[in-house]
Symmetry: C2
Subunit: 124 residues, 2 copies
């Protein structure tokens, strides 16, 4: 079911059928994205880079297409995976809101914290 409709740039309508946060939760899918980001690649070539079976990769790619991160271009019997990573903007913006948490080292919160982390009391 369509959960979002976003219009990017020039009337390019992308129907998102799946939460992009959930799509990138899986490490294999992130690896696929890294792999095809700057070089389109057919499905079998992608699959050869992993230990899991070709159908498993096929499923992952299907999920990525469902949220628009990958677009398939059929070419003869081959299907090329093209990265369309505009959807990652949502993730980038959400995390950017919290950028102060890792850029400001010594805000009041961390000062407070350091009081109990001075002694690195540890667990197992």
């Amino acid at each position: 079911m369509v959960t979002h409709i976003l219009v990017t740039g020039r009337l390019q309508v992308i129907k998102v059928r799946r939460d992009v946060f959930q799509a990138i939760a899986d490490p294999t899918r992130r690896a696929i994205i890294n792999m095809v980001a700057y070089q389109s690649m057919n499905l079998n070539t992608v699959a050869e880079n992993f230990d899991i079976s070709r159908p498993a990769i096929s499923k992952h790619i299907k999920i990525l297409t469902e949220c628009g991160l990958i677009v398939i271009k059929q070419q003869g019997r081959e299907r090329y995976c093209e990265a369309h990573l505009q959807q990652l903007q949502e993730v980038n913006e959400w995390t950017t809101h919290f950028k102060t948490f890792w850029t400001q080292k010594l805000d009041a919160l961390e000062n407070f914290l350091e009081q109990d982390t001075n002694k690195p009391t540890e667990n197992k």
Copy 2:
């Protein structure tokens, strides 16, 4: 099992037992993060803002603590959820790598795409 050990700022060691990408995949957990980011809140108060049960929220918060995004401060019988969002840096950086995908509107790829999206042929 500990999957990462990161040292931030001043010898503050965070043991990450869970992938942060997976932790933020759930919309409820993202809502919790938004809620406590700038104002610590005890668990029951967090739970009151959701339709799901208090134990369900408790589980979500446990997951968030397992990847270091939230730290619990016990205060009497109450447990305050404090946001420690440094881990989101990993997500922010990964998505930032692909920023050109949504900032450069007219790279060769999109030009090509517009050829087939000019007519918004549609599906349901």
